[in-house]
């Protein structure tokens, strides 16, 4: 089974869960006066769940017919030989993004961002740290200044133990 059909299968399953939530768990929370309404909070989700299952099944069963296989271009990615691409790098970068999300508050913006930029380029194979670290620091300070001072959105610059 091709990847697009697997996705359709997951989508149909997702719609079933969503539909279950809409059909069986939402309505009894509704206060009585709202039950006289012709439209309930669950009405639209119910429609979507039914439509989603229908469309998902169309893709899953290939009713529409597949489009002719076009030859993949050199710059596009063919997931069937994912192994020849730099999956590891991409996964580590995603991990870095998660780490950034978790560390942003505790470590403060400046430390987290500089770390993210330096680590990111290291993962990609950059070894000229004497260039990378100053560039990352400058960019971090620049963005922090822009966001904090120009846009007026608070970003805590330093780690939690240094106050704010």
């Amino acid at each position: 089974m091709a990847l697009d059909r697997w996705i359709a299968l997951v989508f149909v399953a997702f719609c079933c869960v969503y539909g279950y939530a809409a059909f069986f768990t939402m309505d009894h929370l509704l206060p009585p006066f709202m039950q006289r309404n012709p439209v309930w909070p669950s009405t639209f989700p119910k429609m979507l769940a039914v439509a989603g299952v229908a469309v998902g099944l169309i893709v899953l069963l290939g009713v529409e017919g597949n489009k002719s296989e076009a030859e993949p271009s050199a710059t596009d990615i063919n997931y069937r030989n994912l192994g020849q691409y730099k999956v590891g790098q991409a996964a580590v970068l995603l991990g870095l993004m998660v780490a950034y999300a978790l560390l942003l508050r505790p470590a403060g913006f400046l430390l987290a961002t500089t770390g993210f930029l330096v680590a990111g380029s290291t993962v990609l194979g950059e070894r000229k740290f004497h260039i990378m670290i100053p560039v990352a620091l400058l960019a971090t300070l620049g963005v922090w200044y822009l966001v904090q001072e120009v846009l007026g959105i608070f970003l805590r610059p330093f780690p939690f133990f240094l106050g704010n």
Partner: protein, 505 residues
């Protein structure tokens, strides 16, 4: 209209807004040139900045400038590197790249800039004529018609997705609509599908979704496949920006035709710049005679002018449904719509009545934006093109950082970043399987409005009878069904015919 133009001139010609246009165009060109970052990603990245400005007119002017700049930047990388940053400029590389290979890169860029300018300007004039007319019609619409109209828009986007892709596009649209139901709706004040998480109470932020759908997968693709977007050789020296008088004469009718054609294709939901540019290229190649036709694909002036004019005119055309009906026809206008709503402006027929200064300032700024691109960016191109030399080891972490920042600034919530990464991985898998992502975002952005209008008409008519009682609603819904079913019907007939031929043999 004259009054409106004057209001617009007054608003657009403030120092602040002029600077916005210039900054927007420059930033757009700068980032748009990077392979892989299309206007959608760039606008998504710029939205927090635009919202930070606070003034809706200024923010929209900035974003419109970024949009134009990005398209122009995309053409530049198509011409110089044969690496189109955007699908809409793929057709540009057919003739632009051969021209650059012949050492006429400067001329090709000028032709691209002039035809973009002409396409954008003529498109803006058409927008000025058609938008007020359409919005006066749209004022007659009730919520039932709006609901039907949005259904038509969403089906049209799916229908234009291409053969074999309609069901996938519909699936993505429905997923977008489903994602839009997360959180607390305006009509019911009841949290839905939040799974008890406080962070989902206000729903998924559309900036996060836009970043996750476009910017993040692009960046990941750049990581996965280093060949993608890598400059093939150096771009060479860019000099001699002029084209001859004869070439100008050859271009003029092409520009005239393609501005009109591109604009009207752009107005259709879902069609947009990509189809306009390919169609423009094909039409001009068919019209051209003999020698000129043979020239196409080998560096023809006409072949470069046609897609460039058409895609810019189409971009302007796509503002018509956005500004008059509040319904975005493309991913980019969907992002703009989200930005407008965040700025407390509701696009739609009331926009021209309630806040004419915003409407007209945007239109006037389109003219200014095109002018800025022509006179300011063109001479700067040889310098801006240096950005293509930034090593990807530096570039990619920065792109990722900007997507993270964009999602964080909007909500000031670190959980949003985790949602971003999750949705981004999902979007990347969708792209592996060739699912179109723009319908998802458009569905998400229209979802709330669609449900509100649907619920309102249900309440007004105490049930589904509004479909039968309002002929226009019924007509639009039938049209929507027709749009969805037509492509598969045609594909089936074509297949049957093909099979019949095979049997006959």
């Amino acid at each position: 209209m004259l009054e409106g133009i004057l209001i617009g001139l007054e608003a657009a010609f403030s120092i602040q807004n002029l600077l916005m246009v210039i900054a927007g165009c420059l930033i757009g060109t700068f980032i748009g040139m990077l392979p892989g970052l299309g206007p959608m990603s760039i606008i998504a990245i710029m939205i927090p900045v635009a919202i930070g400005i606070g003034d809706a007119a200024a923010a929209l002017i900035l974003l419109a400038g970024v949009y134009y700049g990005a398209i122009f930047g995309g053409s530049t990388s198509s011409i110089l590197l044969n690496a189109p940053g955007v699908a809409g400029t793929v057709a540009t590389s057919f003739d632009g790249y051969p021209m650059a290979r012949k050492g006429q890169a400067g001329k090709a860029l000028t032709i691209a800039a002039v035809s973009s300018f002409a396409g954008g300007t003529i498109g803006a004039i058409l927008l000025m004529i058609f938008a007020p007319a359409l919005s006066s019609v749209a004022l007659l619409f009730h919520s039932a018609e709006y609901f039907a109209l949005m259904v038509v828009g969403l089906s049209a986007i799916a229908a234009f997705a291409g053969t074999g892709q309609v069901a996938k596009a519909l699936m993505m649209t429905i997923l977008g609509l489903i994602l839009a139901t997360v959180g607390e709706g305006a009509l019911f004040n009841m949290p839905r599908f939040t799974m008890g998480l406080m962070d989902l109470q206000s729903g998924i932020s559309f900036i996060t979704l836009a970043m996750a759908m476009f910017a993040l997968p692009e960046a990941l693709f750049l990581v996965l496949n280093p060949a993608r977007g890598a400059g093939q050789g150096d771009s060479g020296k860019i000099e001699n920006l002029r084209f001859s008088r004869e070439e100008g004469k050859a271009m003029a009718p092409v520009i005239g035709r393609q501005s009109l054609q591109g604009f009207f294709i752009g107005v259709l939901p879902g069609a947009g710049a990509t189809i306009a540019s390919f169609l423009g290229y094909a039409v001009e190649r068919n019209i051209a005679k003999g020698e000129e036709q043979a020239e196409f694909g080998k560096g023809s002036v006409k072949g470069l002018a046609a897609p460039e004019t058409a895609n810019n005119a189409a971009c302007t055309g796509s503002f018509v449904p956005l500004l008059t009906l509040g319904i975005p026809g493309s991913g980019t206008t969907a992002i703009l719509l989200g930005a407008l709503i965040a700025l407390n402006v509701t696009p739609g027929p009331r926009l021209m009545v309630d806040t004419p200064e915003i409407f007209w300032a945007v239109i006037i700024s389109m003219f200014i934006g095109n002018l800025v691109l022509l006179i300011l960016n063109l001479p700067l191109i040889p310098y801006i093109a240096k950005i293509l030399a930034i090593p990807r080891n530096y570039l990619i972490p920065f792109i990722l950082f900007f997507t993270l920042m964009g999602a964080y600034i909007g909500q000031n919530n670190a959980t949003e970043l985790l949602i971003l990464v999750g949705l981004g991985v999902m979007a990347t898998i969708f792209r592996f399987a060739d699912y179109p992502l723009a319908p998802l975002l458009i569905g998400f952005i229209l979802g709330t409005m669609l449900e509100d209008n649907f619920s309102r008409s249900m309440q007004l008519y105490r049930g589904l009878s509004f479909i039968l009682e309002r002929p226009m609603t019924l007509g639009l819904l039938v049209l929507a069904a027709f749009l969805v079913l037509l492509p598969s019907f045609r594909a089936r007939r074509a297949r049957r015919r093909a099979e019949g031929v095979a049997d006959g043999d």
